[in-house]
Amino acid sequence: MSEKNIIPEPQQSLPNTNVSNDQGLLQWISSVDHKQIGIMYLLMALLFFIVGGAFALLMRVQLAVPNNHFLSPETYNQLFTMHGTTMIFFVLMPAIFGFSVYFTPLMIGANEMAFPRLNAFSLWMTFFGGLILYFSFAAGGAPDAGWFNYAPLNEHNYSSSKGIDYYCLGLLLSGIGSLTTAINLIVTVLHYRIKGMRLNKLPLFVWMVFVNAFLIVAALPALNAALSMLILDRQFDAHFFTAAGGSALLWQHLFWLFGHPEVYIVVLPAFGIYSEVFPVFSGKPIFGYNIVAASSVAIALLAFGVWMHHMFAVGSGLVVNSFFSASSMLIGIPTGIKIFNWLATMYGGKIRFTVSMLFAIAFLIEFTIGGLTGIAFSIVPIDWQLTDTYYVVAHLHYVFIGGSVFGMMCGLFYWFPKMTGRMLNEKLGKWFFWLFVIGFNATFFVQHILGILGMARRVYTYPDYKWYGLLNFISTVGAMLMGVAGLLLVYIIFKGLRKGKKAPADPWDGFTLEWTTSSPPGLKNFDTITEVTGRRPLWDLKHPDMRDKM
C-alpha cells in the first residue's frame, strides 16, 4: 500500500472549520467555499436559462405562422438579442464555471481553489453583469442589434435607446468575472494537485478546464477592447466603428476574434464532462487519452485563427477567404477525432444507460450534425449561400445545445448526487431526456431546410412562401416541447433536492477522486487521499490487481 497524503488545510479560506455550515442565505452570499460558489453559478445559469428560454418561446410563437403580428418588430429584435446574449454569457458561461469551480479542486484532491475570495468576486461580477444587462429593460429598452451586435447598427445613430450601453457594461463586468475565474483555475490546477497527479494524469475534465482557462485569458481581452471602444463611440462620439474615420468591419474582427474562441470556451468543458461520463458508464478507461488531451490543445490554438469564417461574405478576396477556409476545416479534425474516441471508449464496454449516459450518447449524434454543418460553412461558396440564414441558426443550436447544453445535462445528472447528497429520479430523468431530445430536433432540424429554402435569420416575420409556414410551425411545436421539458427539469431538480434517495459516496462506480469523499463533501473536501499513480485513482484503489499502467 502506498502512503496516505495529508491534504493541507486551506488556512485562508477556512479560518475556522468548526463554524456551522447552516446559516441560511447569509452564508451562501458571503461564502468563499468553492462548492457553494459552484452551486450558485449553476443556480444562476438555471435562472437565466428559464428567462432566455421564455424569450425563445415568445419568438417561436411570433414565427409560428407567416405575417404574424403577435410581437412588434422592435420587441422581437430585443428578444432575439437578449436571448442570444443571455444564453451565451449568462447561461453557458456560468454553467461551465459552476462545474469547473466545484469539481476541479475535488478531482485533483485539493480542498479549495487557489484564491477563494477571488472566486467569490468572479461569481458576483458575473451575476451583477447579468443584472445590469437586464436593467436595460427598465432603462428604456433592451439591446436590439443581435448578440454579436454589428457596427454601425450598434451605434447611437441607429440604436438610440440605452440598451447597448447596458450590454457593454454588463458584458464587461461578467468578462472580468470570467477572466479572474480562468486565472484562478490555472493556478489551482498548476499548484494544488495531489501528490502523484502529474499533468499527464489529470482527469480529462480537469484537463479541458485547464486548457479552457488559457483560452478564456487569451480571448476575452478582444471583447473587452471592442466593448470599451463601443462605449467611447456611443458616449463620447469617438469613431472607432463608423465609416467616418473608423471601420464597421473592425468591430467584426474584434468581436469574432473573441467570439469564435468563445464557442470552444463553452464546449470544451462539456467535452471534459463527456470524457468522464463515457468511461465510467462503459466501465472502461477513455480510448486514446493522449489524443483527446492533445486535440483539445489543438482546438484551443486553432481557435484563434478561424474568426474570419464568420465574415466570408464581407468581400475579403480569394487569399484571405482561402486561409480561413483551410484553418476552419483544420479545426474540424481534432473535434471530429474526439467523436471516434468516445465511440471507441464505449466499444467493448458494459454500457449502463443512466440519464447522464443517454445525454452523452445523444450528444455524439447531435454534435456530429452541428459539426458537419460547421464544415459546410468552412466551404466558402456554401457559406456564401447559407450564412445568415436559418441554416446557421440550426447549426449553432446543434453546437450550443447538442454540444454544450447536453454536456451540462450530462454533468448535472452525473454529479447531482455528489453536489447534494441526493439522487435525481432516473425514471423522470428519462422522460425529460426524450422530451428534450425530440423537442430539440423538431425545433432545429427543420431550420436547416428553412435556411436552404432562403429564409434569412433574425426576421420578425416572413412571407407565405411554399413550406415556410409548415416548417416554422413544426419548429414552434418542437420549441414548446422543449419548454415543457425545461419545466420538467426544474421539477426533477426540486423533487430531487427535497425527496431524492440519499446518495452514497460513489453511486456510479466512478473512477476519479471526487467519489472518494462523502456526498455532499464536507466543508473540508478530504482528510487523506492515497497517492495517485494512474489516471483513474479510484479504479486503482478498487482493483489493486488491475491497476492502470502508466
Binding site: Y150, L153, A313, M346, I351, P381, Q385, T389, R457
Partner: protein, 323 residues
C-alpha cells in the same frame, strides 16, 4: 430521372438555392450537393456506430464481469485522423476552384453595370449607362455577364438572391462587387440577409431578369422623365408632393422633387410591390401607407404626417399614375 428530379425541385423549392439560375449559382449548388452527400454518409456512420455499439455492448442483468480495459489502438487512431483529413483536402480543393470561378478579382478600373445601395429598409438601383434609378424591383439582363457594385447608405446590409448565387455584404465605406451571369429570363426573389434594424424582415426585392430586347425596352421606358398628370386630383397631389416635405426625401425625375433619402418614385407604379416586398402597389395600400407609415411598417424611416383625407386621396392618385 434527372429531368423528373429537377421538375420536383422546381415545383417544390422555387425561390431557393435548390433552383440555381445563374452560372455562379450552378457552381455553388454542385458543391453543395457533393458536400451534403458526404456529410450524410458521415452522419449515417456515426448514427449507426452509436446505436450498434450501444445495443451490442449494453450491460446485461447479473453480468458483473469487468470489460477489457483497452486504452487505445494506434492503427485505428491513424485512420481516424487521416480519413477526415483526406476528405477535407478534397473539399478545400473544390471550394477553392468554385471561389475563383464565382468571385474573381475585380479590376480596379472596372465600371459596374448597376450600383445597388442598401438602405434601411429598401434597395436603390442606379443604372450606370442610363438615367434609370429605381428601387426594390431591379431589372437585369439575362444571358450576359454583368458586374454589380454593392454599397450601403447607413448600416451593413447583405445582397442575396438565392437562385442567383452568392450573397455579398454591403458595408458603409467599402464598396463590394459581384458578377452575375443569369441563365434565363424570370423573376427571382431577393432579400437582405444581414440584420439591419427594426424592419430587416421587410427588406426584400424582386429581381426581374429579361432578354436583351425586353431589357432594352424597360431601360428606355424607365429613363423617361415623369410627365404632368392629366386629371385634376392627381395634379393636386403633384403640387402637394412638390411643395410639401415629400420632395425633400424622394425624387421624381422631371419635377422639383430631388431628394435622395427615400426610394426614387419616378416610375413608382410600374413596380409590383412596395415597402421592401411588404405589400402590392395599389391604391388601397398606398393610402394606408401614407396615412400612417409607422403603423404599417414600424421602425421604417418614413415619418408620420398628419394628412387629411383629401390630401391622402390626391397623393394616392398622383403616385398611381407614375407609370
Amino acid at each position: 430521372m434527372p429531368i423528373f428530379y429537377s421538375h420536383i425541385i422546381h415545383v417544390f423549392f422555387c425561390q431557393s438555392m435548390l433552383n440555381p439560375s445563374s452560372t455562379q449559382a450552378h457552381d455553388i449548388y454542385a458543391l453543395f450537393q457533393s458536400f451534403h452527400i458526404a456529410a450524410f454518409g458521415m452522419l449515417a456512420l456515426i448514427i449507426f456506430l452509436s446505436f450498434f455499439i450501444s445495443i451490442k455492448y449494453r450491460k446485461k442483468k447479473n453480468d458483473d464481469s469487468i470489460p477489457k480495459q483497452t486504452t487505445g489502438n494506434k492503427t485505428l487512431e491513424v485512420f481516424m485522423i487521416s480519413i477526415p483529413t483526406l476528405l477535407l483536402i478534397y473539399f478545400f480543393y473544390q471550394s477553392f476552384n468554385v471561389m475563383k470561378a464565382v468571385e474573381p478579382a475585380v479590376a480596379g478600373d472596372a465600371t459596374p453595370d448597376i450600383i445597388i445601395t442598401g438602405h434601411q429598409f429598401w434597395w436603390d438601383a442606379n443604372y450606370t449607362n442610363s438615367k434609370v434609378v429605381t428601387a426594390n424591383e431591379i431589372h437585369l439582363p439575362a444571358g450576359k455577364k454583368i458586374l454589380l457594385e454593392l454599397r450601403a447608405a447607413d448600416v451593413i446590409h447583405s445582397f442575396w438572391v438565392p437562385e442567383l448565387g452568392n450573397k455579398m455584404d454591403m458595408i458603409p465605406g467599402k464598396p463590394n462587387f459581384i458578377y452575375l451571369d443569369i441563365d434565363k429570363p424570370g423573376s427571382y426573389a431577393g432579400l437582405c440577409s444581414e440584420f439591419c434594424g427594426a424592419e430587416h424582415a421587410w427588406m426584400r426585392m424582386d429581381i426581374v431578369a429579361q432578354n436583351e430586347k425586353d431589357y432594352a425596352d424597360w431601360l428606355a421606358q424607365n429613363s423617361t422623365d415623369a410627365t404632368l398628370p392629366k386629371d385634376s386630383l392627381a395634379m393636386e397631389g403633384s403640387e402637394i408632393f412638390q411643395t410639401g416635405t415629400c420632395a425633400s426625401c424622394h425624387r421624381i425625375r422631371g419635377t422639383n422633387s430631388l431628394g435622395v433619402v427615400g426610394p426614387d418614385l419616378t416610375h413608382f407604379d410600374s413596380r409590383k410591390k412596395m415597402l421592401g416586398g411588404m405589400m402590392n402597389v395599389d391604391s388601397m395600400n398606398i393610402y394606408k401607407w401614407i396615412s400612417d407609415p409607422q403603423k404599417v411598417k414600424p421602425g421604417s424611416k418614413m415619418p408620420d404626417f398628419i394628412f387629411n383625407k383629401d390630401t391622402l386621396q390626391a397623393l394616392t392618385a398622383y403616385l398611381l399614375q407614375l407609370k
